[in-house]
């Protein structure tokens, strides 16, 4: 193959090779310039067109005499394209010496616009002075149609995204308002008691399924409850609302926590029948002031045990084992327990979002024991400090905290606290 003398020496294998080769040789540089499959033009630095090929003249429907020496490059463009040329194309070309793939539109004599892709380079003299600009022009009609389609699709996608974000924000606001309506705005002041609470909602687009409340029964007694309904979302919110108002009415009617839970059980069974059973767990209690102490009478249905952080540093857990889910069975049993809070004691109620948080690499349950041990490290502690410590603990769980979590702490100020306050 080192021979360059053509096919005839090699035995005359393929007739016509010679003719094809000759044709190639006849495609002179001049011919290639004039009839290239793209437009060529050269302009002076001020844009005056000095040279233009036949291909581009054909596309534009212009004669050489009309163009050379008479028009500037920007005269070939649409007005918008001219603005773009002056503000972007020309400055960039001056600074960089070359510029490629710029999308512009040219005006044709026949009327229709010709979408083009333009590439330019500046030819400089040996000492670096710019002499002229060489430009190639590609017909980009098909490509531009495709790009326009892409742009249209992108605009539609952007608009859909904006709409979705706005919808999500509206939903979030509506849910926040609804959520607030399911919780007390602020806990009431109970003479001689401190209270604190915290509510973590796992999702900002779903209503939480935990609830709590604290309210006076009469001059001497307050009732409280804290619970967790099954599921999430609107159905759970409806259940939460029903549970909350039922318990509140029941407690005002009869200050017996177990009776209140039985009432709720009946209401839920009555409301949710057939193939949509709905249930919840809850702890309900009554606080009754007795001198320096407060008696607590509470009942639980399927709810984790309440803890009492004692003034002497012990932690009691108020076992209500045997208390059944509320709303599951007509003859559900609920378990009552009584205790007395002394100055410095804090009663802690929580939902299982806390104890069922996932921790560590293995995503183990945080668990009841860990919570009791955490409480033991805190005790003695007033309600605010207990809730703050638990809030920090929840925060530390990060994405391990998968469920809603409600916390409510009620306590009597420690005698030393009171002493220091009065002496201050």
């Amino acid at each position: 193959m080192s021979s360059g003398t053509g096919g005839s020496d090699s035995g005359g294998g393929i007739p016509g090779t010679d003719a094809a080769f000759s044709a190639l040789l006849e495609d002179s540089a001049e011919e290639l310039y004039e009839s290239a499959p793209c437009g060529y033009l050269s302009t002076l630095m001020d844009g005056t067109i000095a040279k233009i090929n036949a291909t581009l003249l054909g596309w534009l429907g212009l004669s050489r005499d009309e163009v050379v020496g008479r028009m500037r490059f920007s005269d070939l463009l649409t007005v918008g394209g001219r603005l773009y040329h002056e503000t972007h194309f020309a400055p960039l070309l001056r600074m960089q010496g070359h510029l490629g793939g710029i999308a512009l539109e040219m005006r044709t004599a026949a009327g229709p616009r010709l979408p083009v892709l333009v590439t330019s380079t500046v030819k400089t003299s040996d000492d670096g002075d710019p002499l002229l600009i060489r430009t190639t022009v590609f017909d980009a009609t098909d490509r531009r149609a495709y790009e326009k389609e892409l742009l249209r699709a992108r605009r539609a996608a952007d608009e859909a995204r904006r709409q979705a974000e706005a919808d999500r924000e509206r939903l979030r606001e509506a849910l926040a308002v609804l959520q607030q309506s399911l919780l007390p705005a602020i806990l009431p002041d109970i003479p001689g008691m401190e209270t604190a609470c915290h509510y973590h909602i796992a999702s900002d687009v779903q209503l939480g399924g935990d609830f709590y409340d604290l309210f006076p029964l009469d001059d001497n007694r307050f009732a409280f409850f804290l619970g967790d309904v099954c599921g999430k979302g609107p159905q759970a919110a409806a259940l939460t609302s029903l549970a909350r108002y039922t318990l509140r009415a029941a407690a005002l009617h009869d200050a017996d926590p177990a009776a209140n839970l039985r009432m709720l059980n009946t209401v839920l069974l009555d409301r949710y029948t057939g193939d949509d059973p709905r249930y919840c767990t809850a702890v309900v209690g009554v606080l009754e002031r007795a001198g320096d102490t407060t008696h607590v009478h509470l009942a639980s249905g399927g709810h984790p045990p309440a803890l009492v952080l004692r003034e002497d540093g012990r932690v009691d857990h108020l076992s209500t084992r045997g208390g059944m889910l509320i709303g599951a069975l007509p003859a559900a049993q609920f378990v009552s327990v009584r205790t007395t809070l002394h100055p410095g004691d804090t009663l802690l109620l929580y939902t299982d979002g806390l104890t069922e948080a996932r921790i560590g690499e293995e995503r183990d349950l945080y668990g009841d024991e860990a919570l009791e041990s955490f409480a033991a490290d805190l005790a003695p502690a007033p309600p605010r400090r207990v809730i703050d410590a638990l809030t920090a603990l929840l925060h530390g769980f990060g994405d391990g905290l998968v469920d809603d979590t409600a916390l409510l702490a009620l306590g009597l100020p420690a005698p030393t606290d009171t002493g220091s306050e009065t002496s201050a």
């Binding site: 844009g47 001219r82 603005l83 002056e86 972007h88 400055p91 600074m95 999308a103 539109e105 742009l151």
Partner: protein, 268 residues
């Protein structure tokens, strides 16, 4: 974020010289001035910056609301002047920034003592009795041109902007692509530039003013230069033998010497 970093402010030139602030227009950034900067820096202290949204400014500081009116750009100018505690500076504004300069001077006359308006136009749209050179449809066409040339922008620039320490060549590329602008930002600037009507602001200009125009400028044609000249009492008009809308690039020597001559004539 300090103003100096936010607006990518650069100060060069003779520290003892009078201060000249060079303000770029729509379409690019402070790189537009690089051919005139060396000549001016010999005698003057030269301040360059990028508007928020342009060049190497802090894009996170960009707010559509602020930069949808020329006042927002004027605030950038005034804030840069305040940050440098400039007094009696010469503000050189190119294209739309000539009008921004008028607003900035009105807001901070003690900081901005005189104006150089390079290829100014107070209004681009033709109206009865006024020839701005363009129709509203032309401006829409420009916005289209902008858009079709930014098709590849997000893909190419997003990794640069988000920071790619493992791909340093992207940063290099950014350095070389002057005038690369977020398409959304460019769109807002284009609309503000070409749809703002600043004609009524001209008559209140009391600062010594030099108007520099090009003999051939499709964006700011001679009748617009004449309009600005007659609207600003006592202004000086110089027509450069240059083509296009950017004499600081096409005729840098003539541009620099016209600015120098004007500044040297000012009372010290």
């Amino acid at each position: 974020m300090s103003i100096l970093r936010r607006n990518n402010v650069r100060v060069t030139g003779r520290a003892s010289g009078r201060t000249i602030v060079l303000v770029h227009g729509f379409g690019c950034d402070q790189n537009m001035w690089r051919l005139v900067e060396p000549a001016l820096a010999e005698d003057f202290r030269v301040v360059l910056f990028d508007y928020v949204g342009a060049g190497r400014s802090d894009l996170s500081a960009w707010r559509e609301e602020r930069y949808s009116s020329l006042d927002g750009y004027a605030r950038d100018v005034v804030e840069v002047c305040e940050e440098l505690d400039l007094r009696d500076a010469v503000l050189v504004g190119h294209s739309v920034s000539a009008m921004v300069g008028v607003l900035a001077r009105a807001a901070a006359p003690e900081r901005i003592g005189s104006l150089v308006m390079v290829c100014p136009s107070p209004y681009y749209i033709d109206e009865d009795g006024y020839r701005g050179g363009f129709s509203a449809e032309d401006i829409d066409e420009l916005l289209e041109s902008l858009e079709s040339n930014y098709l590849g922008w997000s893909a190419a620039m997003a990794p640069v902007i988000m920071g790619n320490p493992d791909r340093p060549e992207l940063g290099e590329e950014l350095t070389n692509s002057f005038c690369a602008t977020d398409p959304e930002i460019a769109r807002v600037f284009a609309r503000t530039t070409f749809l703002s009507d600043s004609r009524k602001d001209l008559q209140d200009v009391t600062a010594p003013t030099l108007i520099l125009e090009c003999a051939q400028d499709v964006i700011a044609p001679p009748e617009v230069g004449a309009y600005v000249h007659s609207a600003i009492p006592g202004s000086r008009l110089v027509t450069l033998a240059a083509t296009g809308h950017c004499p600081q690039l096409s005729a840098p020597e003539a541009t620099a010497s016209a600015i120098s001559a004007f500044v040297s004539d000012l009372t010290p």
